[in-house]
Amino acid sequence: MLSPYPQLVRAGFRRHATYRQAALAGLTTNLVFGLLRAAVLVAVLAQRPVVAGYDVAAAITYVSLGQGLLTVVLLWGDTEMSRRIRTGDVVVDLGRPWDLQAAMLAADLGRAGFAVLARLVPPMLFGAWAFPFRWPTVPATWAWFAVSALLAVVVSFGVRFLLNASAFWLLDARGVIGMWGVVGGVLSGLVVPLAWFPEWAQTALAWTPLPSLFQIPIDVFLERDGTAGALAAQAGWAVALLLVGRVALHHGSRRLVVQGR
């Protein structure tokens, strides 16, 4: 029998490919904010040519990849499951003969696949065309970057799944998700490279899944040291978050309250 999950990956891709104008608008926003962020980093680097191993080319690459990965990893704006729990539509999802978490992950990977084409490649090409850019020097780096980006999507999915599943207990997960939006942006290395943070903060963050989202894939692309360990950390977080998510779904769905219809 055919497994439905590859087809769900494709459906996730197709669903998002439907909204091309929205993708274009989002891409424009990403580029504009990318220019602003690059300007800030370049201003810092005007004082000192290299900060924590990042020169101007590395900083431009950092920003281009970060802006591109933003919608691939999807840090913000995934409230679908919590909405379905709140409205009770989740009974449809729970009533299907599938592994709900695996099905949602499959659809999310399809979504990320479309985002790679529509939202990651253009800012990279733009950054490389308009500014000094740091391409990988070894071909293998591309493969490691692909693996790292994939793991970043899975880690992000794991976090989003848990945030959304909190609606089983809270009914309204908007507060929790909003808090993540603030914390996640700064502490995942999206705004400023984590290497620019104080030593103690870097140590503390290394114990969280946050660097797995942006810092690690970008550093893998920039061929900074410690690729193997970083990928292992990402894989560990991916597995751990998925497992915790399964437990949360199991317990959460047993508390499900569907009122009114």
């Binding site: 449809v92 729970l94 009533g95 003969p97």
Partner: protein, 332 residues
């Protein structure tokens, strides 16, 4: 339920399981805790639902808003965990074997969608088939049949979000049937549909049920749905089964009297004192009579009786409406 009674009840369940029942429940109940952590109140949605549905039956599951219909359905599909009692659906424990059960039942929620909003209808069907692991040849065959019977060819490539409600509901019912379920649960399937769409759906569902391999469990507030599709009616109120009987039997028990409408050839006063007749009215200047009769006589006897006295141009029997029946039941 007392502990001494539990053994007997489970034996009873066993006995019924052996016979060909698709749904067997025993004292099914569910309550919810609502309110804040400090001031929790316990709300009982379903108290005690004991119900058997045999293979191939079509059962109308009725009750006023808040009676516990949807909660019961969600327990039967394994989505809600019962807080009391037990249920077996297709011989399975709905909660523990939810995924296996999901392959064998189809569910249509009139107010929710199981289709993919952004994708063309045909792609939703393909995904649905993949999720249920339907072999492609069987999927094709089943889909072609539904597309033809429900006249969906014109909008198969339209994204679901652009479909009208009537078109979407046809899609929902198709999706629920693609994996040839043994039980089709319909929770208000005709809500919001216009008369033509309702009728089309009823005709289709009645054909599906008539083949005998799909059992129907239908909740609705649209009583013509029940009249067209169901021979048996289960009415619940405040979480308990109030009535469980054939629709005809219920009519006879609760809905008062049938009415024989007679049109005599020439205007006249209606005959008085016919046996079994409890009320007589004349309309249209004596060209139409309404003879309300009770169960001490039959329509045939009464027609013969009238025909002996006057020349009749036309007769028909008005059944008591199901609305009147439900009004009587809900207010009891």
């Amino acid at each position: 339920m007392t502990t001494s009674g539990a053994g007997g009840a489970s034996m009873d369940t066993e006995r019924r399981l052996r016979s060909d029942h698709v749904i067997v429940t025993e004292g099914l109940g569910r309550d919810f805790l609502v309110g804040s952590r400090l001031r929790r109140t316990r709300v009982t949605a379903v108290t005690d639902v004991t119900l058997d549905v045999a293979r191939g039956e079509a059962v109308g599951f009725l009750g006023p808003n808040g009676a516990g219909k949807s909660t019961t359905i969600k327990m039967l599909t394994g989505v809600l965990v019962p807080s009391a009692g037990s249920a077996r659906v297709c011989g399975l424990d709905p909660v523990r074997e939810r995924r296996t059960l999901a392959r064998r039942i189809g569910v249509v929620f009139g107010q929710r969608s199981q289709l993919w909003w952004d994708l063309p209808l045909a792609e939703s069907f393909a995904l649905h088939g993949a999720i249920h692991r339907v072999p492609p040849a069987r999927h094709r065959e089943r889909l072609d049949e539904c597309v033809e019977l429900l006249d969906m060819a014109a909008f198969l490539t339209t994204p679901v979000r652009q479909l009208s409600l009537g078109q979407r509901m046809r899609g929902e019912v198709t999706a629920a049937l693609l994996h040839t379920p043994e039980l089709l649960v319909l929770d208000e399937p005709t809500i919001g549909l216009d008369l033509a769409s309702k009728e089309r759906l009823r005709t289709f569902l009645s054909a599906v049920n008539a083949r005998g391999d799909v059992t129907l469990l239908l909740t609705t507030h649209d009583l013509p749905d029940v009249e067209r599709l169901c021979r048996r009616v289960v009415v619940i109120d405040r979480g308990r089964v109030l009535v469980d009987d054939g629709l005809d039997a219920l009519r006879r028990r609760f809905a008062g009297h049938r009415t024989l409408v007679v049109e005599p050839v020439t205007p006249a006063a209606p005959p008085a004192a016919l046996p079994g007749v409890v009320a007589v009215t004349a309309e249209a200047q004596g060209l139409r009579w309404r003879l309300e009769f009770d169960s001490t006589t039959t329509a045939a006897e009464l027609i013969a009786d009238v025909a002996r006295r006057v020349d009749i141009r036309d007769v028909h029997v008005d059944e008591p409406t199901i609305e009147a029946l439900m009004r009587t039941l809900y207010t009891r």
